[in-house]
């Protein structure tokens, strides 16, 4: 009897210990690349090749994680950020991503840059069930939770922005004749689709010329000449920084004076307006969702001071005028927020669950712009503000508008 009772007690004790251990294990769940002290994140960026200008973003993200680590990491874990060069070549992206996932054993891939490059790994990531989070491309296909539950975009999709430009034209231009310059790929075509969707039936009459270029073209001068000769009074520029700077120069050289609409991909003073000539760039209208680091108004805000302090300490080689550095700063914060929300449950499943459960405002986002996601909404940013370049900086000329 006595021994029997002891045995029961002992068994109960063991069971209790087992239960405690069980709950402890439930609290701390780790996916690949996570330890008590470390979280491994992977990334591909074009540090070389035709799109190398975007490499700035990868460097900014690296610098932001440095700050996070110096301040104690996320829930006590350091972020180890492995960013590899893919030269904007899809096969290379696949090779580098497989290296990150299979050899480096990263928890997830964050902010891979480029549309064709991310397309090359889209199926691979979803088959392998590895989060492909906040891809740095505005293509529309990244917000498809039903078919691709492991992939999520971040910035406003190109189609969304195209729609907003359409709305702007309809409200502000009498008898618009639109000439479009676009890059001949998903990115370029998505903008045009968005614009046409917003213009509706009027698209056919309002759009008088469409010219495309290849990312490997040396210049786009002939396209601009054709657009001018079409008699357009609105020029919608859907090109990457190098070509945008060329377009601005050529438009002014030809003494063409249309309403100049510029896509946010190239809406940067440091890498576009400055090389194109500040005087040349006067009057250009674009849409924004984060603050322009060159504007004196921005520079007086608390948000900017924090950003600048980060730049000087962690990214001293970075250009204080380049908005890519703001972009990287914001994207990295979103990632940190997801990791924080996930707490000690750092499995790939829970990461996706928390990424689809965001509602946040951030320093350096324009007032009114928020990051919102849900299990059915994989488009984090869907609001923007129209701004105009006045020769020195971007001045807002309206209120934040939402896609619908």
């Amino acid at each position: 009897m006595n021994t029997g009772r002891k045995l029961t007690l002992a068994l109960a004790g063991i069971a209790a210990i087992g239960l405690v251990a069980g709950t402890a294990a439930a609290e701390k769940k780790y996916g690949p690349g996570v330890t008590d002290t470390n979280i491994k994140l992977g990334n591909t960026n074009p540090y070389s090749g035709p799109a190398a200008a975007y490499g700035t973003i990868g460097k900014a993200i690296t610098a932001y994680f440095k700050k996070v680590n110096k301040e104690g990491g996320v829930n006590g874990r350091m972020i180890e950020f492995i960013s590899l060069d893919d030269g904007y070549s899809p096969p290379k992206t696949k090779e580098q991503t497989r290296k990150l996932v299979e050899q480096e054993d990263v928890l997830l891939i964050f902010q891979g840059l480029g549309t064709p490059t991310n397309s090359a790994i889209h199926n691979y990531m979803n088959k392998k069930k590895v989060p492909q989070l906040f891809v740095a491309t505005g293509a529309t296909k990244w917000g498809d939770p039903e078919n691709y539950p492991w992939t999520m975009g971040w910035q406003p999709s190109y189609q969304t922005e195209g729609k907003l430009f359409g709305a702007y034209i309809l409200e502000n231009v009498k008898d618009p004749k639109i000439g479009i310059l676009f890059q001949n790929d998903d990115y370029g075509k998505d903008y045009v689709t968005g614009l046409k969707a917003k213009l509706g039936d009027k698209a056919a009459t309002m759009i008088v010329a469409e010219e495309s270029y290849e990312v490997t073209d040396p210049t786009i001068n002939s396209q601009i000449i054709k657009l001018k000769s079409s008699g357009a009074n609105v020029f919608f520029n859907v090109s990457t920084p190098k070509f945008a700077a060329q377009a601005i120069k050529k438009v002014r050289e030809l003494n063409w004076d249309p309403l100049f609409l510029n896509n946010s991909v190239s809406n940067t003073v440091g890498s576009v307006y400055k090389p194109a000539g500040l005087e040349n760039s006067k009057g250009i209208i674009s849409l924004q969702y984060y603050m322009d680091p060159t504007s004196p108004e921005t520079q007086e805000t608390e948000a900017y001071k924090k950003w600048k302090a980060w730049m000087t300490e962690y990214n001293p080689d970075g250009d204080l005028l380049s908005s890519f550095n703001v972009f990287g700063y914001l994207a990295a914060q979103t990632m940190v927020q997801v990791l924080e929300q996930a707490g000690d449950n750092l499995t790939r499943e829970n990461i996706m669950k928390e990424a689809a459960n965001l509602n946040m405002e951030m320093d350096m986002l324009l007032p009114g712009v928020t990051i919102e996601t849900s299990p059915t909404d994989f488009y984090p940013i869907e609001k923007m503000m129209p701004v105009q370049f006045d020769g020195e900086r971007l001045v807002s000329i309206g209120e934040v508008v939402s896609a619908d």
Partner: protein, 335 residues
């Protein structure tokens, strides 16, 4: 009865060279066993190396053995890749069948392109093929073909599972399976190239390279041989392209830019022009060296790549195979 003079003649000219069976056997055995000792990612990389080696061998047949320059082989690579992708994606062809079809389509394309190219020599031919390399990505993106090629979006290819027998007996993975397929195809194509080079046709090809006028006056149909060489070269590159599309499981125009042509050309020169085995070294070089360069310096990877390339060319002016030959001769002298 043979005389002394005749016995000293290069045996290649009389009886054809012989394959060194011992070394080839060692190479084949090591090559087959290799994927079972490495991880999936390395298998994948080695598969890419093999694919590049096949494409480089194709270029070598044209440039190294026939003396025609091409900066357009990325175009044939793309045609092979898209042939495979379109057949699988739209027509549900079994992937295995699409590999030879990709090669045959490229043979036809290469032969046809070879006909007008006959009138062009040296630099002019290089320019014409360059035009081809630049045009193809644009054509693939054009809105007229978008329904077929998927335009800028590209096409996805899904590979069938590894045959069950192999999974059960060897626990074979997808990466190992496709490594072995590529390796087998490479061996087959290398063997075919070896036989071609050491045949009457091969000698005709080389004679045209060395002295076209003399070759013609000996009765060689130069224009036919040149076009055929173009076709065969494109065939090899097309097979490589089709394999690449299947192994990467995705094709997009941006995968086949002019830069790919340059890379293949670099692989050719570094491996050694006029050598069959050199292609493997060339493939290794163009896959590995950019990765090494990136590890040295992310921001200056191209500069580092350039420096390595210049060093390699200075140290090994006749390619890696040339270096191996020189070392062999020196070793023999010392012994």
């Amino acid at each position: 009865m043979t005389t002394d003079v005749e016995t000293k003649v290069d045996p290649r000219l009389t009886s054809g060279a012989r394959i060194n069976v011992k070394w080839v056997a060692v190479f084949v055995i090591l090559g087959v066993l290799f994927p079972f000792f490495i991880d999936g990612y390395t298998s994948f990389q080695m598969t890419l190396t093999i694919i590049y080696a096949i494409a480089i061998l194709g270029l070598n047949l044209l440039t190294g053995f026939n003396g025609q320059f091409s900066l357009g082989h990325s175009a044939f690579y793309a045609i092979g890749a898209y042939t495979a992708a379109i057949l699988v994606y739209h027509l549900d062809f079994p992937v295995y069948v699409t590999i030879p079809i990709g090669g045959v389509v490229c043979f036809v394309a290469g032969f046809l392109f070879g006909l007008p190219a006959l009138r062009l020599n040296g630099l002019y031919l290089a320019l014409a093929t360059f035009a081809l390399a630049v045009a193809v990505p644009q054509i693939l993106k054009s809105s007229h073909l978008e329904g077929l090629t998927g335009g800028v979006q590209g096409l996805d290819i899904f590979r069938p599972d590894v045959p069950e027998v192999l999974v059960n007996t060897f626990a074979m993975t997808m990466d190992q399976w496709w490594y072995l397929i590529s390796f087998g195809i490479m061996l087959l194509l290398f063997w075919a190239a070896w036989n071609l080079i050491n045949s009457r046709s091969g000698r005709a090809m080389m004679a045209i390279r060395d002295n076209p006028i003399a070759a013609q006056s000996m009765g060689i149909n130069t224009s036919l041989y040149k076009s055929l060489t173009f076709g065969v070269s494109a065939f090899y590159t097309g097979i490589a392209g089709a394999l690449a599309a299947i192994v990467i499981e995705f094709v997009a125009p941006d995968s086949f830019t002019f830069q790919l042509s340059i890379l293949l050309f670099i692989g050719l020169v570094v491996g050694g022009t006029g050598s069959i085995w050199g292609a493997i070294f060339g493939g290794l070089f163009i896959l590995m060296v950019p990765n090494i360069a990136e590890e040295v310096s992310t921001g200056l990877s191209y500069a580092v790549f350039g420096v390595i390339l210049i060093l390699v060319i200075y140290v090994m002016p006749s390619g890696i195979v040339g270096l191996v030959d020189i070392l062999k001769v020196r070793l023999k002298k010392k012994l």
